[in-house]
């Protein structure tokens, strides 16, 4: 199963564990960390951009600074690229063993055609877990609508795949906790998500590092949902399509 965290933020972390270290933890556990910095009239700031870039590097993922309008497309593109890249790494390890070449580029066009076909098939069928980790600090509030839209857009792309895909959405800070809270628990039918953020209490602090650690725990299964969340998930399954999700309080 391929696992990735997509961190969506608009600034710098200011408390807790260094997020670059947290991303390195994720990478060593085989979880890719991608970062999207969203700007909306203005700048993410030099230090914000530098931090975003460093987190992505440490997390083995990519970093993009985009406007709100590009957010949905970027989330979707990153997810797809990460899947492709991870598969490529695995395939290239095999190539080294069997053909003694270390990259797809070095294969002849005929061999390349076969290998890429296998990679494409894998990309379409491999099971996938994507955790969207949302910076919900005060300055992000006006951007959450776009984030919701990006979640829906990603779910469309994932549901079209033949392989199993699961999405979850986490946000930080979670009240006065430094860890991240679960806004949407793992779901295989993400298009049923109606509203991602309701009654979200915005805080000034940005504990990006601890949040990445929470997401890492959640994606690797080290942390399970709280009892309350399980209950909500259960009630949703019991009555799909009703207004229950509208009242989903995080």
């Amino acid at each position: 199963m391929l696992k990735q965290i997509i961190l969506i933020t608009d600034g710098c972390s200011n408390t807790g564990l260094n997020p670059v270290v947290a991303a390195a933890h994720a990478a060593s556990a085989g979880v890719t960390v991608n970062v999207i910095g969203v700007v909306d009239h203005g700048e993410i700031g030099k230090s914000g951009a530098a931090e975003a870039d460093a987190i992505a590097r440490a997390g083995g993922g990519m970093c993009r600074i985009v406007s709100l309008r590009e957010l949905a497309q970027t989330v979707q593109m990153m997810t797809r690229r990460t899947v492709a890249q991870t598969i490529r790494q695995v395939v290239e390890q095999e190539l080294k063993k069997t053909f003694a070449v270390d990259s797809v580029e070095k294969l002849s066009p005929v061999k390349r055609a076969h290998v890429v076909k296998v990679m494409d098939d894998l990309g379409e069928t491999v099971s996938l877990r994507v955790c969207l980790l949302i910076d919900a600090s005060a300055s992000m509030r006006p951007k959450l609508r776009s984030v919701e839209e990006a979640v829906h857009d990603l779910s469309l792309s994932l549901e079209a795949r033949s392989g199993q895909s699961e999405i979850s959405v986490m946000y930080f800070p979670d009240g006065h906790e430094l860890t991240a809270g679960v806004a949407v628990p793992w779901t295989k039918a993400p298009s049923e998500i109606r509203s991602v953020f309701r009654h979200l209490e915005m805080q000034g602090v940005t504990p990006t590092g601890p949040a990445i650690m929470s997401a890492l725990q959640y994606i690797t299964g080290e942390r399970t949902e709280t009892a309350g969340q399980r209950e909500l998930a259960a009630s949703r399954e019991a009555a799909p399509g009703t207004g229950l999700l509208q009242d989903y309080v995080v």
Partner: protein, 299 residues
């Protein structure tokens, strides 16, 4: 690459001279080149994997049923400025984008281009693929409305996740259905494209920015744009998933266009614009001529 540059393939050794840059797609840049077989288009890829994936799709089209010949004439790598680039060579297609063609030749050609596009889509669908990334930039029109699809980066086998798309034309973006390959996906993009071509006031672009965008709003737009009034029923069916295949859309399109041709004779009798009168007159004459020809050929 600049005009006059030479490209010599690393594996096959074929050589090409660059004439000019034709355009740029998501996976690479396209150049007009002269090879041993004359003028061709050469796509230089940014990534060997992405380009190969596109080539694989095109090769399957070639070896599939049907006889549209080979899309891919050569695939190879070239070293430019110390870096390896993958490329493939294809048939050179001349033409301009549909919007430019219509601006230069008049909206009378609108139904012709739509018809030809549906024909192209229907051919692909018959082979089990959708085009995926249907948009104005990926279409070239020339001569008497000859329409060709270019840039097959979105080519997707039926049932798979659409490989490449552009938001404005994407069924998912308009919340009108899944992002998986079926005939309806291409037809939806086709309808948006037709609205775009009929829309001189930028109304489609406004709808696309609306957070409450939906297929219903596109349907309303189809009713409001005079330039696409004739085919509005087909466009609406494409937008709402009311058609099962491009073939069905083609039949519906033809019905609308032919019926409108007949209607123009009616317009003639009510106070007409001078041009309408002339057109209607011409149409009646051609109907009479056709009838006469038919009668003559039967007898």
């Amino acid at each position: 690459m600049l005009p006059g540059d030479r490209i010599v393939g690393r594996w096959n050794g074929r050589s090409y001279r660059v004439e000019q840059k034709l355009g740029e797609g998501a996976n690479g840049q396209v150049y007009l080149v002269t090879g041993a077989a004359g003028l061709c288009a050469l796509k230089l890829g940014y990534s060997a994997v992405d380009l190969q994936s596109e080539i694989n799709g095109l090769m399957e089209l070639r070896f599939g049923t049907g006889n549209s010949g080979s899309y891919v004439l050569d695939t190879d790598d070239v070293t430019l400025g110390g870096q390896e680039y993958p490329y493939y060579v294809m048939r050179y297609v001349q033409g301009v984008t549909p919007s430019r063609f219509l601006a230069e030749n008049g909206m009378d050609w609108y139904p012709v281009i739509g018809w030809r596009l549906l024909t192209k889509l229907s051919e692909l669908h018959d082979r089990g693929y959708i085009f995926g990334d249907l948009k104005s930039d990926n279409i070239l029109v020339s001569g008497y409305g000859t329409t060709e699809l270019i840039d097959y980066g979105g080519l997707t086998r039926f049932g798979k996740a659409v490989r490449q798309y552009t938001e404005l034309y994407d069924r998912g973006y308009w919340r009108a259905g899944p992002r998986s390959a079926d005939a309806g996906y291409d037809l939806f993009a086709f309808a948006v494209l037709c609205l775009e071509l009929a829309d001189s006031g930028g109304r489609l672009a406004l709808l696309a920015k609306d957070p409450e965008r939906s297929a219903t709003k596109l349907v309303r737009l189809a009713d409001q744009l005079p330039a696409c009034a004739v085919v509005a029923p087909v466009l609406k069916a494409c937008l709402t998933g009311g058609l099962r295949s491009a073939e069905e859309a083609r039949a519906a399109w033809r019905r609308c266009v032919y019926a409108a041709g007949a209607d123009r004779a009616e317009v003639h009798r009510s106070p007409p614009a001078a041009l309408t009168a002339v057109l209607a007159g011409t149409f009646i004459l051609s109907v009479i001529a056709f009838g006469a020809a038919l009668y003559w050929s039967i007898s």
